[in-house]
Amino acid sequence: MINKVVQNAHEALHGISDGMTLMLGGFGLSGIPENSISELVKRGVKNLTCISNNAGVDDFGLGLLLQKRQIDKMISSYVGENAEFERQMLNGDLDVELIPQGTLAERCRAAQHGIPAFYTPAGYGTEVAEGKEVRDFNGKPHILEHAFAADFAFIKAWKGDEAGNLIFKGTAINFNPNMCGAAKITVVEVEELVKPGELDPNFIHIPGIFVQRIFEGKNYEKRIEQRTVRQI
């Protein structure tokens, strides 16, 4: 077994520096790498480019990095829940690239799988297609999209073992598996870190080969963005 364990978020972020491009898992506030984000805030690294589906809310998730002006550029599909984000974007303080959600996921997956580029119909005929190669397949136009290139991927999984094998839970899975191995260094935080052999190999979502560093996270808040219930 190749041991991927680091002791904590501080050790996991070794080598991070200003100006890097980061991938961060999560959809809304679900499945976000809370411990790694806290550590990024603590270290104060800046001029970051962040690839993440959303930008958190004002006081949680990536919103914490926005508050401290640590992010220069966001690459996301939907950023509607964050007033500070909107303010910085409309001011021109923050560079924002909005891309279709499926394209975002596939650009991660392409990087993970060593595929430099792919064609997709999403965004054809829209602003998103401007300047991109268009090619017809089966009579339908598609646009060329490229794999991302990132320095770090920050992932949140439910359970992991010391070899870096991962299992995700519910819809907290989202972009997390697609970002594993899609950056030079993949850092995973888990709610429960177990010994090798404790996870059934038949039910591993992501094999440890895609992971460089894993640690057990602490004090998960797991905030709910839109608590919605039904009446009996």
């Binding site: 959600q101 119909p121 005929g125």
Partner: protein, 217 residues
């Protein structure tokens, strides 16, 4: 004239046995409340679930179980979870039978605009461009006019578009329409709404043939 629930109720009649359905945020989310209970349907939410169930009871909310609108949900027996790339594989690969989404504008060519108001609202397209770029069957749920009373059914979209020539059907608070020969075709009118009233608030070309039946809800 229908309210939002009325629109959802009418659209629910388009949901057929054995369908996998993706519901957008807003009025489309309400459709799930009105689907007949004698048919089998699975709802897909693009953040990674098939077999989405109703909202949880108080005390049973789970931060790891949400829909695309970030609301807490439940998973029905037979549900599955998956990553975002696979989720959009289902969408792009046309495995989802029906897509229902909201819009700010629809053109008579079937173009849709629902992601951006330049200089004003820039929230992003989320999964909408992937959905409209690939789905075979797209129903738009929206009000017939905007808050200023202007038509949302246009000759050409004025706002930045989300996708071209993709909308198959439109259900508004006033009418059901589809798109044929680059025109809106009136299929049904809402209870108490006349064809004349619909004509007045439809800026795009409108085809009306014979008697237009009233919606059955």
């Amino acid at each position: 004239m229908l309210d939002k629930n009325g629109i959802a109720k009418r659209i629910a009649k388009e949901v057929k046995d054995g369908y996998y359905v993706n519901l957008g945020i807003g009025i489309p989310t309400l459709v799930a409340n009105f689907v007949r209970d004698d048919i089998e349907v699975e709802f897909q939410s693009e953040n990674g679930i098939l077999g989405m169930g109703p909202f949880p009871l108080e005390g049973e909310e789970d931060a790891d179980l949400i829909n695309a609108g970030k609301q807490t949900i439940t998973a029905l027996p037979g549900a599955s979870f998956f990553d975002s790339a696979m989720s959009f594989g289902m969408i792009r690969g046309q495995h989802v039978d029906l897509t229902i989404l909201g819009a700010m504008e629809v053109s008579q060519h079937g173009d849709i605009a629902n992601w951006k108001i330049p200089g004003k609202m820039v929230k992003g397209m989320g999964g909408a461009m992937d959905l409209v770029g690939s789905a075979k069957n797209i129903i738009v749920a929206m009000m017939h006019t905007n808050k200023a009373g202007q038509s949302k059914l246009l000759k050409n979209c004025a706002l930045p578009i989300t996708g071209v020539k993709c909308v198959t059907k439109i259900v508004t608070n006033m009418a059901v329409l589809d798109i044929v020969n680059n025109s809106f075709r009136l299929l049904e009118r809402a209870p108490g709404v006349s064809v004349e009233e619909i004509k007045k608030v439809t800026q795009g070309d409108l085809i009306v043939k014979g008697e237009t039946p009233e919606m059955k809800l």
